[in-house]
């Protein structure tokens, strides 16, 4: 019997697909796949460092989309973006299940890996939707609508399309401060940017310097609207927190405005 194997990869989707390729080609019994920065703890496993390979990744993906539905393809990509520990192994099992059955398995909800991928994709989809809802742009003096976010999952790649098609006549930046990269739309196309923020950005003076003079006024108006539209005799704090969990309040100008 071959000993079980632990794969390490570079954290990219292409790298992960290469892992799937290696597993099949070398008939490995893989029991873990690790992204960079996660220490390996398996005592008796053989460790293989997988080098990301475009052609191998393409072969796996093309083979997969022969069987998988659109829903299944999205589920795999969304699950990958979750960056959850050990999700790579569920993704591998999903591929193995698909290739063994030679059919789409996205409806096999009684299979633990399929269910896990479906549920994880659902969580990522929900976070995507929340970011589309909770991003609050602030107008800078350079006439750029700016927003920073710290999403639970890496959703920037999947929210780009929404914002680009909606705000096509204004410049905007959405910056993921947790993963330190952002999207910048310059009225023609969207590109990835990296910013070194000044340490003083949280200071009021610094903000006044950065943002357009009307910005504070519109935030005040919005806050006023938010308060006026509440029906006092129906206040339901539990429901409120359920819809807008506290960890998202930091984005919302109606909850913590610029002038505070």
């Amino acid at each position: 019997m071959k000993p079980s194997t632990c794969l390490t990869y570079d954290g990219t989707f292409q790298g992960l697909l290469t892992c799937v390729y290696i597993t099949f080609e070398e008939k490995l019994d893989v029991n873990n796949i690790l992204p960079p920065g996660i220490p390996q703890t398996e005592m008796f496993a053989e460790i293989i460092e997988v080098i990301s390979d475009e052609n191998k990744a393409k072969r796996v993906w093309n083979g997969f989309i022969n069987y998988a539905t659109r829903r299944g393809q999205n589920a795999i990509y969304y699950a990958y973006l979750s960056e959850l520990p050990k999700i790579e192994l569920d993704i591998l099992r999903y591929f193995q299940h698909t290739f063994n059955r030679k059919m789409s398995v996205d409806g096999d909800f009684a299979n633990a890996h399929v269910l896990k991928i479906t549920q994880t994709a659902k969580m990522v989809g929900r976070e995507k939707h929340r970011m589309e809802a909770f991003v609050r742009f602030q107008l800078t003096k350079d006439n750029i609508y700016f927003s920073n976010i710290e999403p639970d999952f890496n959703v920037l790649p999947i929210i780009e399309k929404h914002f680009a098609s909606r705000y096509s006549d204004q410049q905007w930046i959405i910056y993921d401060t947790k993963r330190n990269f952002g999207l910048y739309y310059d009225l023609i196309k969207t590109r990835i940017i990296h910013i070194n923020f000044s340490k003083n950005l949280s200071l009021l003076e610094e903000k006044k310097h950065l943002f357009d003079s009307s910005e504070i006024e519109f935030q005040r108006l919005w806050k006023k609207y938010f308060e006026a539209t509440t029906i006092k005799s129906r206040i339901n704090t539990r429901l409120h927190h359920q819809h807008v969990p506290k960890r998202y309040w930091k984005y919302l100008s109606e909850k913590n405005p610029l002038h505070n």
Binding site: A110, E132, K224, A228, S233
Partner: protein
Amino acid sequence: MMFERIKEKLEILADAAKYDVSCSSSGSKRANKNKGLGNSDGMGICHSYTQDGRCVSLLKILLTNHCIFDCAYCVTRKSNDIKRAAFKVQEVVDLTINFYRRNYIEGLFLSSGIFKDADFTMERLIRVAKKLRLEENFNGYIHLKSIPGASDELMREAGLYADRLSVNIEIPTISGLKKLAPEKNHSDFIKPMNKVKNEIIQYNSEKKLIKSTPKYAPAGQSTQMIVGASGESDREIMLSANYYYKNYNMKRVYYSGYVPISNDPRLPSLGSQVPMLRENRLYQTDWLMRFYGFDVNELLNQQFPNLDVEVDPKLSWALRNQHHFPVDVNSAEKEMLLRIPGVGLKSAYKILQARRFRKLNYDHLKAIGVALNRARYFIICDSRGWEKRDLGPAKIKSLILRNSVGKFRKEYSSQLSLF
């Protein structure tokens, strides 16, 4: 912009608009044309939630709260001593655009008190929508109120700029309306509703022949009824809702628990509770009618004119109709799966998909998301431990109530302990 003055108006006119519960921004498809601003892609987005837990999707305001009518249930009625204000057309346009650009909202919901007459008011509402569409190239969502009694020509124009139009019926029965809003005529509500329905049908049929036919109210019509203001039974309310769904192709009927706003002897007094549980049960019934294949008469009829407050309407129906159960989840048709208490639309879909791969047992069903605490009394599956005892409806109900928690339980448990 005069921010201070706008802020004052916004406070008054948002406060007055908040009793309109609709805030949906879904169901419309409008692409962003020529690098303009905004789009609607069919799926609504709730950008925030008020402290009462309702979604904030649209900038929902009145153009003015001056009104010539004196409807007892309405906060802006003529005889009510409140601050009055009115927005200028351009002010509403500027607010909408600036909020939209900051990703606060999906669009505008514009309603109004009726000043001068119906057509004068309707014409103003249309002017705002027209300006947004034509001058600002705004493709976000616009919901306009159809003013009761507005002329056919204006309603025709309104639908060209708005995604959704709505007239609030407010009082579910004609007799209730006579009592609470004697100056208003039931047929005035129906007139714009009918016009919009016919225009939608006509535009859709023209669209099939000529691709370039403009959109007409692509997100359809909706209406709203106040619950608990004029003594209707649940059956009367749902029959009325069913009538509007069937005859006017309504996209949605909203139910709004009456919030006491005056000491009028015809209405529940100030300080009486908002009937939130009842409202919740009505929405559940609405969903069963629209998505689960139930006929309104199965859920509410002469014998059962009011919904059971203790359990949801589907469970209540199942307890009255035990001869349909148990259902075998591994072989039943979709229509029957949807009738099992504790199985929703998503669980039914997952069951249908998953059972093509293997027979499902309790563990599978639980992992998929079926609420077994309710479903277990109504199903058989690939587990041996299915419920074999011949329990009557009363016994099942008490077992379910004992083994579950409900968010409204505390509101009626005091009533129960009396018995």
